[in-house]
């Protein structure tokens, strides 16, 4: 590294951004936590560089440190950031400001939170011109905005400009943010997880338009992502971060085909779809995978869930939304059924109807032999003892004020099962089931990683020894390497305990891993229903085919 820093000033002309020995720390209370530790890397001019890593690897911190948007508790503790041979860290905040936006663009992660809801799209793009002191006249600005939006795939930019952000979809908003980042023709654009908040199909469109404007203006792009498929499809170079350090860097084709570092290899191994430097289609990955088998169910009844013509609408006369529209499906006891769809497809509402959290407007809902629609409060409560849920985000589903022991014991207390001592034994047993040490009972959720937290949530769901478990996007909040472990745990538990799983997910790759039967939902309707093999290898509906082509 010392050699690097010494020669840093004589950057060859091909390097636009050179980061040398950069260290960043966060301070929480009395603790100083290192987020980036002596990071050095070169970003080549005119290329797309993907910075990949799991949560906590420091990839977003890296992006924010370069554009000086670190949160208040973050400080740069050392190193240099050389942009066109000039050390940016030597500039004061006031001196830095003219660079941001004008020469370095930034595309933030969350398109919902990043646009001002009280200003029109036109005003927000214009703001990028006025704040950077652009010398263009009003007509030229107007012209450029319209041209940029057209490049980004908006057919009629004029009609878009007077709208407010809430009138646009997530994908459109993200493209507006891209338009803002590119509006001043910066040399460098840093995009921080630009598609992770979007549905897969939409995300693909957004990346396509990003590429279009990028190649038109020859902009250098740094793409921060956790998605290996996305990185290998969109980037020329890749930098792998782990625990705040660069473990490997080089051209994507080379790094993904011949990873040198053990961490890169494990990262690649966790993704079933990137093998030998090539991206497999979901179907190809599915063929290579072992098929999940149904287990011996604990219920006597052959059918765990039976939905017949179930419909549910939200909103009154004005904003009527048909969330679930005439859904009919069956889930055999001891099997895993996956309901796949994008956001707003009605999959979550369907699962809430099964759980008795929402009432269907029409149709019959039979769960574990009971007609959920006709059950009273006591009946639903009795049924909940036999069906439990694992929620999407283990960061939200566990009360941060309670110990893990109290969290896992909560269902037992709710149904007054056992004495205090016997509950403690049961908690230890459950933690052991999900492969956590029994000593964790005294800890609090904040002390655990995302994967460990999700294991706790699973332990809580198993506390009552249920027959049916509804898994609501159980791994989508987790890193890829952790996802595989949690899915494997879920499969082991299913085999050992004879569970029936109702899995709700947007990710067909997860489905291919665990499900026996699959339903694909769109706009409240089930458009395709069949065995996982049929749906993945021989999709009938256009929509399923589009999802599989991602």
């Amino acid at each position: 590294m010392t050699v690097d820093t010494a020669t840093a000033t004589s950057t060859d002309t091909n390097t636009l951004l050179r980061i040398a020995g950069l260290s960043v720390g966060y301070r929480t209370g009395e603790h100083e936590q290192t987020a980036l530790d002596d990071v050095s890397l070169d970003i080549a001019r005119g290329r797309v560089t993907a910075v990949i890593g799991e949560s906590g690897s420091g990839k977003s911190t890296l992006a924010h440190a370069v554009v000086r948007l670190l949160p208040g508790s973050g400080t740069i503790t050392g190193g240099r950031v050389l942009f066109e041979d000039e050390d940016l860290l030597a500039r004061t905040d006031r001196e830095f400001r003219p660079l941001r936006g004008a020469r370095i663009g930034f595309v933030p992660q969350d398109p919902i939170a990043s646009l001002n809801p009280t200003k029109t799209i036109s005003a927000q793009i214009r703001e990028a011109f006025s704040l950077t002191g652009s010398r263009l006249g009003a007509d030229e600005v107007e012209q450029r905005i319209v041209e940029d939006l057209r490049d980004l795939g908006f057919a009629d930019p004029g009609s878009l400009l007077p709208l407010y952000p809430h009138e646009l979809s997530g994908g459109m908003r993200q493209r507006i943010l891209i338009a803002i980042a590119f509006s001043q023709r910066p040399e460098l654009v840093i995009a921080d997880e630009p598609t992770s908040a979007l549905d897969v199909l939409v995300g693909r469109e957004v990346l396509r338009s990003l590429h279009q404007v990028r190649s038109k203006h020859g902009t250098t792009v740094v793409l921060i992502t956790h998605d290996l498929v996305l990185a290998s499809r969109n980037a020329d170079d890749v930098v792998v971060l782990q625990g705040g350090r660069v473990v490997e860097a080089g051209p994507v084709a080379e790094v993904f085909a011949r990873p040198q570092h053990a961490y890169t290899r494990s990262l690649l191994a966790s993704s079933a779809r990137v093998t030998e430097g090539r991206v497999l289609s979901i179907a190809e990955a599915y063929r290579r995978h072992d098929r999940p088998t149904d287990v011996v169910p604990r219920t006597e009844a052959g059918v765990a869930i039976e939905l017949t013509g179930v419909s549910k609408a939200f909103g009154r006369d004005g904003g009527h939304v048909q969330a679930v529209d005439d859904v009919t499906l069956q889930v055999a006891a001891g099997s895993t059924f996956a309901l796949v769809g994008e956001s707003g497809s009605g999959k979550t509402t369907t699962s809430r109807i099964i759980l008795g959290l929402e009432r269907a407007d029409a149709g019959t809902v039979r769960v574990l032999g009971e007609d959920v629609g006709s059950l009273g409060r006591a009946g639903v409560r009795a049924l909940r003892r036999r069906m439990q849920v694992v929620y999407q985000s283990p960061y939200e589903s566990l009360n941060p004020r309670l110990s893990l022991g109290a969290i896992v014991a909560e269902p037992l207390e709710a149904y007054r099962i056992g004495s205090r001592a016997s509950r403690r034994t049961r908690v230890a047993e459950l933690l052991d089931r999900v492969q956590l040490p029994a000593s964790y009972a005294g800890r609090r959720p904040q002390e655990l990683s995302g994967g460990q937290r999700q294991r706790v949530a699973i332990a809580r769901a198993l506390a009552l020894d249920p027959e049916l478990v509804v898994l609501d996007e159980p791994v989508s909040a987790l890193d890829a390497t952790i996802q595989a472990q949690v899915l494997e745990l879920l499969q082991d538990l299913q085999r050992d305990l004879g569970l029936t799983y109702f899995l709700v997910t947007h990710d067909l790759a997860v489905v291919a891993d665990v499900a026996g039967r699959v339903g694909v939902m769109r706009h409240g309707q089930v458009v395709e229903l069949g065995s996982a093999e049929d749906v993945v290898l021989r999709p009938q509906h256009d929509y399923t085919q589009a999802l599989l082509a991602v």
Binding site: Q109, E396, P411
Partner: protein, 302 residues
């Protein structure tokens, strides 16, 4: 990396009608050099809490701090602050320091009573209406809250005094009832918000009874912002009770209540400034301390 700045439980709430909006916004610190400031805050809070504890001690045992009898004519009138009369003497020769110390007791306990009334009443109403939003109970309580809100706190206190007689404690109960509306609004909003938390729904779906969900998950999540709001209203109640006494509706002379002291002393402001200014400064200092504690409690929310 979002999880580095993750606030897993703290609900950020903006109720429809906000009584004290600045209390409710979880604001990330912006600008340079906030690191040192953030680290200093807990220590500053501890220091302020120690000061508050001292004040409470003095309020409970005024005899420990007072040097004279607050009602006895121990000196000559209008003696300036000195070694034997730390804050000087008033128009008839009573020791002002001892009067301020004994007055703290009245101010402190009457405002504490007001705040307790406001907190308990407001929490009960807020929780009851927030639990089932838009239900019959919610609508009824909202109408009631708005009706009370329409009447100024001081006016309500005056009405109570007219009906039940003078005194800081009667005024305190009336002020507490009026202030309870703000607490009710705040708590209602927080409870509605807390019920959408992931772990609250998780508790419900795993079979926990509604009452237990409330006491175990919802109330603890709601409590931190309410605590900070309480500290702020403590100061406000103190001011309100002081004002009433100053106007002659609360305590009456010879009581050493601070509003009474200020009112009694202002006539002599030109040649004996200390008689009115010192109790005024004391009142301001205590209110500022309480507001600062409210602010720090809010800043240090986990």
């Amino acid at each position: 990396m979002t999880d580095l700045v993750h606030h897993p439980a703290t609900p950020t709430v903006t109720p429809a009608v906000v009584t004290a909006p600045e209390l409710l916004v979880l604001e990330p610190s912006v600008g340079r050099g906030p690191t040192r400031r953030l680290r200093r805050r807990p220590r500053e809070l501890h220091l302020h809490l120690v000061l508050l504890t001292l004040l409470v001690l003095v309020a409970v045992f005024p005899g420990l701090a007072a040097t004279h009898d607050p009602l006895a004519l121990d000196g000559m009138p209008f003696q300036p602050p000195s070694g034997s009369f730390w804050f000087g003497t008033d128009e008839i020769g009573r020791d002002l320091w001892s009067r301020v110390v004994h007055g703290l007791r009245i101010s402190f306990f009457s405002s504490a009573l007001a705040v307790v009334v406001a907190l308990v009443l407001g929490s009960v109403v807020g929780i009851a209406s927030g639990v089932r939003r838009g239900g019959v109970l919610d609508r009824l309580l909202s109408i009631l809250t708005e009706a009370v809100m329409a009447v100024p706190a001081v006016l309500l206190a005056l009405a109570a005094i007219t009906a039940y007689g003078r005194g800081a404690y009667i005024a305190a109960v009336a002020i507490g009832v009026a202030e309870a509306t703000g607490f009710a609004r705040l708590v209602r909003g927080l409870v509605i918000q807390a019920q959408t938390l992931g772990y609250v729904e998780a508790a419900r779906t795993c079979g926990t009874q509604p009452w237990r969900v409330l006491t175990r998950h919802v109330i603890p999540a709601v409590y931190p912002p309410v605590l900070s709001y309480t500290a702020m209203h403590f100061g406000l109640a103190m001011l309100a009770i002081g004002s009433l006494s100053y106007l002659g509706f609360g305590e009456a002379p010879p009581s050493p209540e601070w509003g009474v002291l200020i009112a009694g002393g202002q006539k002599y402001l030109v040649h004996a400034w200390w008689v009115a200014i010192i109790p005024g400064v004391a009142l301001t200092a205590v209110v500022v301390l309480l507001n600062r504690i409210a602010f720090l409690l809010q800043e240090n929310r986990p």
